[in-house]
Symmetry: C2
Subunit: 178 residues, 2 copies
């Protein structure tokens, strides 16, 4: 089996967020806020055609959560959305940022593509997050039929604008990402 | 900016496909075929809770397309689905496998989770493809509202079961991935 090499950073997100605890946990919970992805100029030609899509996936390198918590990744973690319950879930059944391979998946709404810059809406990324790839959202490929079961997410209420600190149980002084 | 390190391979897909040209181009175009993801045993605990989800994303390392075409990645390529027209598109507006960071995104239907093994339906991966991450499909996060514009995909007919070789224009002897 060929082993992965470091992925190439094609660009960086400029966002207003500098702390994980105060960053919206998903772009879909913060659909209206805008931010900018700036590509390295040598990759700008790869954006040709992207403006025809309403949505795209950003594949990102989640650099900060790993920096904050060295050592092996816990395989069961308390998701931000379950902080009040303190319930642990296998990380491959969560969308949290502390992962074995710290790769993020953000669904953004493409607002404008100009030169090496993509202006988008739907921000769940820290300022400076490295972007590894952009893939257009294709309904035929990315929307499963019907109303799929979504595990533990089906049991909870998910509020727009949720952030980790906003989801901490009352009285928690230092709600670590566990 | 912290530079990415090689992502960790958490497991490997066992599929019947050994040639890119004969592999379905998207899992959604091959929804009923089944395959198996086998995790490295040390990551099996991370699957706890995944069985409650109907769908999941596999983040994969597209090892083979890169092996076949050394050198810098072309920033405009003819997507498999546009081979008949020979039309080039910026790679960040395509879903093809030859990417700057060779990272794949496959939407699978979770059939069974047992120990370190995930049996799934929807196969668009070569046998032996390294898997870097699994994320559960969450409708609230992953389904944009309405009927999004999907760029050049909106202009074409997309057939179930499409493979690169099946999409080659008539008479093409060696339909390279451009």
């Amino acid at each position: 089996m060929s082993q992965p090499v470091p992925p190439t950073v094609i660009g960086v997100v400029a966002s207003p967020y500098t702390e994980t605890e105060r960053t919206p946990i998903q772009s879909s919970l913060n659909r209206s806020e805008e931010a900018v992805l700036r590509l390295a100029p040598e990759y700008a030609d790869g954006l040709d055609g992207l403006a025809g899509f309403d949505y795209a996936w950003l594949i990102t390198w989640l650099h900060r959560p790993r920096d904050q918590a060295p050592g092996p990744t816990a395989l069961r973690q308390v998701p931000y959305l379950l902080r009040a319950q303190g319930r642990r879930i296998g990380i491959f059944a969560t969308r949290g940022p502390r992962r074995v391979s710290p790769i993020g998946l953000s669904l953004i709404r493409v607002l404008a593509v100009a030169g090496d810059t993509v202006r988008f809406a739907g921000v769940d990324l820290l300022d400076g997050t490295p972007v590894l790839d952009i893939k257009p959202y294709v309904t035929r490929f990315d929307r499963p039929p019907g109303e799929p079961r979504c595990g533990w997410f089906d049991e909870i209420t998910i509020e727009d604008g949720s952030t980790p600190s906003g989801l901490a149980p009352p009285g928690a002084s230092q709600p670590g990402p566990s």
